[in-house]
């Protein structure tokens, strides 16, 4: 039961509880180093926005934490455990506690939306069909889809609906932490705004911790509690949006004070 210690205290204050810690992480492909001695903490209950140049390695970091990309050196601790030292069984216990929304949704194309959501349930829990149906439809409604989407195949959904359905699947097992890779890219601004709102609501409802890779300045302003910026394979700055705005790093200045940034600020 050590694996789930601390799961209860989502509303503690005072000392912040670190859910995921990345230490001295080095990742590269061939002779290119993408992440170079990177350090990052993700705290319980926060929405962490992760920004950086396109092709800078944001997806690579996400995939390394998830164990999809091998690392050269460094330690990734999830829920206080080093994934490399865990047995197969302990590892899958950890994996049940995170949900991932991939950039393209990654819904299984041969299953209906309902079956997609029920897939992790079926594999991990022993539940009656009635309960699985209720859960699947409840999750669908929580992510803002109509119940009749449940019997559709992924190829019959629009881009925004795919994102929502994939989010419902990521939430199927009530994870502690949710990884989102550019969740609002490819959505119209209103759709993106709604999606941000949804993430916020779900985070509060389910007591989630959210790690969100994003390019969307609106999302950074509205939903993120804290922001970390990636540059040259390292975290060049982290903190609230105000800290970011005050930073003197050239890329951050260009990013947060560029024309798009001004447009976002004058909108509000």
């Amino acid at each position: 039961m050590d694996a789930v210690a601390g799961q209860d205290d989502t509303d503690i204050d005072g000392k912040r509880d670190v859910l995921i810690s990345v230490r001295d992480l080095v990742v590269g492909f061939g002779d290119r180093t993408i992440l170079d001695h990177l350090n990052l903490d993700i705290y319980r209950g926060e929405i962490l926005g992760f920004v950086g140049t396109s092709g800078g390695g944001k997806s690579v970091l996400t995939r390394t934490i998830l164990g999809l990309v091998p690392k050269r050196s460094g330690v990734v601790e999830v829920f206080g455990q080093d994934l490399d030292t865990l047995s197969e069984e302990q590892r899958s216990a950890v994996e049940r506690r995170w949900g991932v929304l991939f950039q393209q949704g990654a819904l299984f194309s041969s299953l209906t939306v309902k079956q997609n959501i029920q897939f992790p349930l079926r594999e991990n829990l022993k539940l009656s069909q009635a309960l699985m149906d209720d859960i699947a439809y409840a999750k669908l409604e929580m992510v803002g889809l109509k119940t009749d989407a449940g019997e559709k195949l992924p190829s019959e959904l629009s881009g925004g609906m795919i994102k929502r359905a994939a989010l419902a699947r990521a939430l199927a097992l009530d994870p502690d932490i949710l990884f989102l890779d550019e969740p609002t890219s490819g959505l119209d601004p209103i759709g993106a705004g709604d999606f941000d709102e949804l993430i916020r609501t779900l985070q509060q409802t389910l007591g989630l911790t959210v790690f969100m890779v994003t390019h969307d300045l609106d999302s950074l302003h509205t939903v993120c509690d804290r922001i970390a910026a990636l540059g040259d394979g390292k975290i060049i700055a982290q903190g609230t949006i105000e800290t970011m705005m005050e930073s003197h790093h050239p890329w951050l200045r260009a990013y947060f004070h560029g024309t798009r940034a001004r447009a976002v600020r004058s909108d509000r």
Binding site: N124, E141, M142, K146, T147, S155
Partner: protein, 376 residues
């Protein structure tokens, strides 16, 4: 965590009381569902007040909240509106959210087709398939004619690339397979003809059979499986990622860009492979005749010269481009019909290979009748 401790329902004076405790999360959802079902199926008590006390619940997630909502709704329907007390504040939003959901009916599940129904659909599909095939042949011919008008648009590089993939790289496996077939054929011939003392006729048999029929058939079937399936999978995954649509909206004809070079590559490669394959089968047959049947190579070649004529060779070679056209057209057509799912890609790739091989054999039969009637 004995299941019974999760939910305890009892009468307390005038009131119906449900006392929850323990961990109401996904791991215990199955047990909790049982308890909730028992509680809701119990005979309706003669009371109008009920209480659900959750102060003992340590943790709760959507699974627990959903089951709580089930209990609450069931009792409310019986006319006893339960009060929920002792709920930890941080779960308030979750409970509220859950009471919002589950009010719409679930949609009808997708229907599975009955066997008879599927049979009917299949019959109709065969008809549709034939029409689509003709359509596609038409579109291909139209594209070729258009290209004939402006030959510079022909994608020569693409075709050369395809020839390399479907032709050159297929040579080793084609040589190996046809060589083995030649060996087996000669061995069987010698084994059975020897009883009549007619060993030497094995040369006639191998020569005629390989040049007229087996060379082109084996190569066509191999290429349908090897390159036809690759064509279908390539075009299919391009369809899935909307690359074909991208071509179309840029004003290009996907048939012209994707299909024609692949088709021409096959039209060139398959006759060459047929030739190589036939020769390799003859070599195989010759070697077995020598080592197993004791027929010296010189004797084998002399006999071969007498037994076969240029006609036999031509019959095989004339068929090759037709087989290539069938394989190429079927493979490309199936590829461009792939829908959005991985399953559809698999289904069309299978269909491509099965249909191509079927049509190759049917064509071979038609050719046999044709050549017989013109005495070739």
């Amino acid at each position: 965590m004995a299941p019974a401790s999760l939910l305890d329902v009892r009468r307390d004076g005038d009131e119906l009381k449900a006392i929850g405790s323990g961990v109401w999360t996904s791991e215990n959802a199955d047990a909790l569902e049982q308890l909730v079902t028992n509680a809701t199926q119990a005979p309706p008590p003669e009371t109008h007040s009920a209480q659900i006390d959750l102060s003992g619940v340590e943790r709760m997630d959507t699974f627990g909240a959903l089951l709580l909502e089930r209990l609450r709704r069931a009792w409310t329907q019986e006319g006893i509106e339960p009060r929920v007390v002792g709920l930890k504040r941080r779960y308030g939003v979750l409970i509220q959210e859950m009471s919002r959901t589950g009010r719409e009916p679930h949609p009808e599940p997708r229907r599975q087709e009955a066997t008879v129904e599927r049979l009917g659909h299949n019959m109709v599909d065969i008809g549709k398939d034939a029409r689509l095939l003709l359509n596609f042949v038409g579109a291909t011919v139209a594209a070729i004619l258009r290209m004939g008008a402006r030959p510079r648009t022909f994608r020569f590089t693409s075709m050369v690339n395809q020839i390399d993939r479907v032709g050159l790289r297929a040579v080793p496996i084609i040589i190996l397979i046809t060589f083995l077939i030649g060996c087996i054929l000669a061995q069987q011939g010698i084994f059975h003809f020897r009883r009549f003392g007619a060993d030497i006729y094995v040369v006639d048999m191998v020569g005629v059979l390989v040049l007229r029929e087996l060379g082109v058939l084996i190569v066509s079937i191999m290429i349908a499986g090897r390159s036809g399936s690759a064509y279908t999978a390539e075009l299919g995954s391009m369809r899935m990622r909307e690359e074909v649509d991208a071509l179309r909206v840029m004003g290009f004809d996907p048939v012209e860009i994707l299909v024609i070079p692949r088709l021409f590559a096959l039209l060139i490669a398959l006759p060459l492979l047929t030739f190589i394959g036939s020769m390799s089968a003859l070599v195989g047959g010759g070697l077995v005749a020598w080592f197993y049947g004791g027929i010296q190579p010189g004797v084998f070649l002399d006999r071969l010269k007498d037994a076969i004529s240029i006609d036999h060779f031509m019959v095989g070679m004339i068929k090759a481009p037709f087989m290539a056209a069938v394989i190429g057209i079927v493979a490309c057509m199936e590829g461009l019909r792939v829908g959005g799912s991985a399953e559809s890609l698999g289904a069309h790739t299978t269909a491509s290979v099965v249909k191509a091989i079927f049509l190759v054999i049917v064509m071979d039969g038609l050719f046999a009748m044709f050549f017989a009637s013109i005495d070739m």
